[in-house]
């Protein structure tokens, strides 16, 4: 078990290192100079550009840039953002909570409402409810998130004025306000971006849960329980669902890339101050260190998610062999 664990962790580290190299190469192969965009605002003379290039190390050969970057990375230093002129690690740390909050809210909706609906579908397999939910959830999945976000921001935020159309908090709220008021304010701002991301992603949870539940409902012990006269509610929730939950929960690792991608589109639409809007900005401005830092963090999360999934399997499922 210990050897298996060490091997699995080492594998995760290698995966992450490979991803980092892949990213660095991709990023630096792209044409265009991060300082070039400054000329879109105000003309810079070659001398001014030279000073700035030297400041950010862009005048070094590619291999030297890589070793410098990798060395600093080992010390947790992600470099300095060109756009913000501040350490990338600090910027990301500022923006990460907002994205985790948004991602967490979406996961919560997925893993409560999504699972519940998936079970309902499995129980009523083939009925109108099942089919209707299939079509509805897949329609949500088929919607471009930016399109849905634009429509919701306008309809709910501007037309109906039910929820704020943008931002993460009302700046006018007294910073000394009570926890309840602040939480309510945060929830109100969270609602629309979370709803958008949930609508476009809930289908996957529902489909997996439906299938897992159907698998379990076909097992002999369920049939036996029913034959013994166990109430149907207990059969479904106590006997079947508990076992059908496990394969779905371990899908957790799958969600991270989906949420990271979705947040790139959705956060900008709602001015949500998270990693996604930061990354979208960094792509547009070719802020190498910042984009690199954001992408690396997402990759690290994905690798860690995979590792956790495997560990969960190993702990929960005795059939996994530690070979």
């Amino acid at each position: 078990m210990k050897r298996w664990l060490a091997g699995r962790v080492a594998q995760a580290v290698v995966t992450f290192a490979l991803a980092a190299v892949l990213l660095f190469v991709l990023m630096r192969l792209a044409p265009g100079d991060p300082l070039g965009r400054l000329a879109t605002q105000r003309p810079l003379t070659p001398d001014e550009v030279a000073v700035l290039r030297a400041r950010y190390g862009l005048d070094q050969p590619l291999a030297r840039q890589f070793t410098a970057w990798a060395g600093a990375l080992l010390h947790g230093d992600l470099g300095t953002s060109i756009e913000y002129g501040r350490p990338v690690a600090g910027l990301i740390a500022e923006r990460l909570p907002a994205t985790l909050l948004l991602g967490g809210a979406v996961l919560l909706v997925n893993f409560t409402l999504g699972l519940w609906l998936g079970v309902q579908q499995a129980i009523r397999r083939g009925a109108l409810v099942d089919r209707g939910l299939t079509v509805l959830s897949l329609a949500g999945y088929a919607m471009p998130s930016f399109w849905l976000g634009l429509v919701l921001a306008w309809l709910v935020g501007v037309r109906w004025r039910v929820l704020p159309p943008a931002g993460m908090s009302d700046p006018l709220l007294d910073p000394a306000a009570g926890l309840g008021a602040r939480a309510a304010d945060l929830l109100a701002h969270l609602a629309l971006p979370a709803l958008t991301l949930a609508v476009v992603s809930i289908a996957a949870t529902m489909r997996y849960q439906r299938r897992a539940m159907l698998d379990v409902l076909g097992f002999p012990y369920i049939v036996a329980a029913r034959a013994k006269g166990v109430p149907e509610g207990d059969v479904r929730w106590r006997h079947a669902w508990r076992n059908a939950l496990f394969p779905v929960l371990t899908l957790f690792g799958l969600w991270l890339p989906i949420l990271a991608t979705g947040s790139v589109f959705v956060e900008s639409v709602f001015a949500w101050p998270g990693l996604g809007s930061l990354a979208a900005e960094a792509v547009g401005t070719r802020d190498y260190p910042l984009l690199m830092g954001a992408t690396l963090l997402v990759s690290a999360l994905v690798v860690a998610g995979g590792l956790i999934t495997d560990l969960a399997y190993a702990v929960l499922d005795p059939r996994v062999r530690f070979g």
Binding site: P31, L138, Y141, V283, T295, V303
Partner: protein, 280 residues
């Protein structure tokens, strides 16, 4: 191949999948029939008097802010989106199947190296890879876009096929063939590959939906299909400022994406159910 036909038959009998087939058929028919009989999608008849016209007799889907016919652009966009998605998916499924077959059947170090690379690639969300790759081209030719979408979409498929191959390797018919002296290539292509076609078909169908959404997202960011070629994502980008004042110019391309992706996913979903006998 008989099983494949049976598989498709199953999806036709499922009402939700039948809706999918019908929707897909409608989109395909529109893409084939409509473009030649509609106005030039790039023509700007009169930007001051004919821009942002609501849907009506002359323009069933209205006109956009540059006075172009929205229906014509949606129909042309269907051609572009569908062919880009189909070709990209063929490419990615082929690569994915090949890598998965080799990794799963060869095993050992080959498998380990290939899967580490696939893991690394999977760890970076596809969108980020695409954003970086697309920035390399100034005017991205359609063919290059297809290649990029195709070569970034096979990682998960290869894992899927590898898993399937690992499972099949222990089966009697594969062992039997090996015992009878069949070569590696013969085992791979005659015995293993045909048995992974079902999962591959599911991956391909779902992949089409994913590529259409990705292409729309990239075009929305201005990185995908280049004007004047109409594309659904690009149309939403163009129409963003008139989302409220002329909703038809963004609603119709949005609906086109929704209907098409929904259709392929309904079919793909039914296919994967059909492969899993308990849940059909």
């Amino acid at each position: 191949m008989g099983s494949l036909r049976a598989l498709l038959g199953v999806t036709w009998r499922r009402p939700s999948a039948r809706i999918g087939w019908l929707l897909l058929g409608a989109v395909l028919a529109a893409a084939l029939v409509l473009p030649p009989i509609l106005p030039d999608p790039a023509a700007q008849p009169d930007i001051l008097s004919q821009a942002n016209l609501p849907p009506g007799l002359g323009h069933p889907f209205g006109t956009d802010m540059l006075s172009r016919d929205v229906l014509s652009r949606v129909a042309w966009g269907a051609r572009v989106s569908l062919s880009v998605a189909a070709l990209a998916v063929v490419l990615s499924v082929t690569i994915g199947a090949a890598v998965g077959l080799v990794a799963g059947y060869a095993g050992g170090r080959t498998d380990a190296v290939l899967m580490r690379l696939v893991d690394a690639a999977l760890a970076v969300p596809r969108l980020f890879i695409l954003l970086l790759l697309l920035a390399v081209w100034e005017r991205i030719p359609l063919a290059a876009l297809i290649v990029i979408l195709g070569t970034t979409g096979w990682f998960a498929t290869s894992r899927l096929v590898r898993g399937e191959v690992l499972r099949l390797r222990g089966e009697d018919f594969v062992r039997g063939a090996e015992a009878l002296g069949a070569g590696r290539r013969r085992v791979m292509f005659r015995h293993l590959l045909p048995n992974t076609l079902g999962p591959l078909l599911v991956a391909a169908t779902l992949g089409v939906g994913e590529v259409i959404l990705l292409e729309a997202g990239l075009s929305f960011l201005g990185l995908g299909i280049q004007p004047p070629t109409p594309s659904w994502g690009g149309m939403i980008l163009d129409a963003k400022p008139v989302l409220v004042t002329a909703p038809w110019s963004s609603v119709f391309p949005g609906l086109a994406i929704l209907v098409t992706v929904l259709a392929v996913n309904l079919v793909g979903d039914a296919l994967s159910d059909a492969l899993d006998p308990r849940s059909a």
